[in-house]
């Protein structure tokens, strides 16, 4: 069983950034071919309403850079003490080099630093926390974890109507060495569904060619989502995997202050809460209505958006659950003690 506990890492702060440009499902006449009844039904059952869109020249790394700047300055961190930088995203700046190197330069970090990109989205925050905890367990002391995505760049997602679901965002989380904190993880993978949410073009399986452009000049990423298959997956796998991590950690549901689930959609979150037999009041879901499904940044953004006060002033035990592209699903139980939390910052 892929379940772990790390005893020497803690979260010290979280900053989250969204672009200023806001779009609503109600003011996009081309959506669902202008079928207003369908738009109303999508809003009612999925909970989606508004989302943020990055400008054409703004990438995920720009948003994460702003989040990192806020985090490091508010926590008054000497940049020379950062010995690990992780960038978790499916929307990197380049195919080569890893975007984390560009961020390492931009953030003016020391050469004594492990940097790496991990391509992950919906479960990326958990995978990133786990990787950070592993590095600290191996002797590093201070890791900057940057997660985010700008799925609005996948222009084809307007064709299969999945675009309105996704909102752009970036986040930065500081993970530090400690001696008194347990972080629990479990991580699962189902490669047989690798094509359930896929961007087929842009890599080396399908080399770009002239016909890969729309008449308006934008690139055909061939990004698409099989929503039904992903829904089936969430209903089958997520609640049992959360129960499994609770059993592993020997922590009772009643000892969890908040269940922060990837903001996939309201309907999925309500059903996971029902299967776990927990109150939906413990499962924040307003963030997806305000900002959309923020992919790799959705969990830190949900914390920042809904729990800023609680996180900044109290001790909390959080259960975090990420699930999606891969297909991948991963959970963590973390304790935080009055950490810095930026709230949602607009840039």
């Amino acid at each position: 069983m892929t379940e772990f506990v790390f005893k020497n890492a803690k979260i010290s702060g979280i900053s989250t950034i969204v672009p200023k440009n806001e779009k609503s499902l109600l003011d996009d006449p081309e959506l669902y071919n202008g079928d207003s009844r369908r738009i109303d039904r999508v809003i009612k059952s999925s909970g989606f309403l508004k989302r943020r869109i990055a400008d054409t020249d703004v990438t995920t790394s720009d948003l994460c850079y702003e989040a990192a700047k806020d985090l490091l300055s508010k926590l008054n961190i000497d940049k020379n003490t950062i010995d690990g930088l992780l960038f978790i995203s499916y929307t990197p700046d380049y195919i080569m080099p890893a975007t984390s190197y560009a961020l390492h330069s931009r953030l003016k970090l020391n050469e004594n630093c492990v940097v790496m990109d991990i391509p992950q989205a919906c479960s990326g925050y958990i995978i990133g926390l786990m990787q950070a905890a592993m590095l600290i367990n191996s002797g590093l002391k201070r890791i900057l974890l940057l997660t985010g995505d700008t799925f609005s760049k996948f222009s084809d997602m307007f064709i299969d109507h999945t675009a309105p679901v996704f909102g752009d965002a970036g986040s930065a989380t500081l993970i530090e060495k400690t001696n008194t904190n347990n972080m629990y993880f479990n991580v699962f993978s189902s490669g047989k569904h690798y094509d359930a949410l896929i961007c087929q073009n842009g890599g080396f399986r399908n080399i770009p060619k002239q016909t890969d452009f729309y008449t308006n000049g934008s690139y055909k990423y061939q990004a698409k989502m099989d929503g039904g298959r992903i829904f089936d997956f969430t209903m089958e796998k997520i609640a049992p995997s959360i129960e499994s991590l609770l059993n592993f950690s020997k922590i009772a549901k009643e000892e969890i202050n908040w269940f922060i689930l990837h903001q996939a959609n309201k309907f999925i979150l309500e059903n996971i809460a029902r299967k776990l037999n927990i109150s939906t009041e413990l499962v924040p879901m307003q963030t997806l209505t305000k900002y959309g499904n923020q992919c790799g940044a959705s969990i830190p953004c949900a914390i920042s958006d809904t729990l800023k006060q609680e996180i900044s002033t109290q001790k909390n035990r959080l259960l975090l659950s990420g699930f999606g592209v891969g297909l991948s699903w991963a959970n963590a139980i973390v304790e935080t003690d009055k950490i810095y939390c930026s709230g949602i910052i607009e840039r």
Binding site: G227, D232, M235
Partner: protein, 72 residues
């Protein structure tokens, strides 16, 4: 849940204004799309403890197929 309760609950789940009965052909309903299909899966799980999936739901032709799955 009796038969009429089943029909009224299902109509609510599908968010349909059409009067449905057991012979209603699902594809004839304006609302029978991916949203209502996943709502139907959750409806079966929540009320009848019956597990289904999109592939199976896509094979259903009439409301009666959903009722049979629910054990109504």
């Amino acid at each position: 849940m009796d038969k009429s309760e089943f029909l009224s609950s299902l109509a609510e789940v599908l968010q349909t204004e059409t009067n449905i009965d057991f012979d209603t052909v699902l594809n004839d309903l304006y609302e029978w799309d991916s949203l209502s299909k996943i709502a139907t899966i959750a409806f079966l799980d929540k009320n009848f403890n019956v597990q289904s999936n999109i592939t199976e739901i896509n094979s259903f032709i009439t409301v009666n197929d959903i009722a049979k799955k629910a054990g109504i």
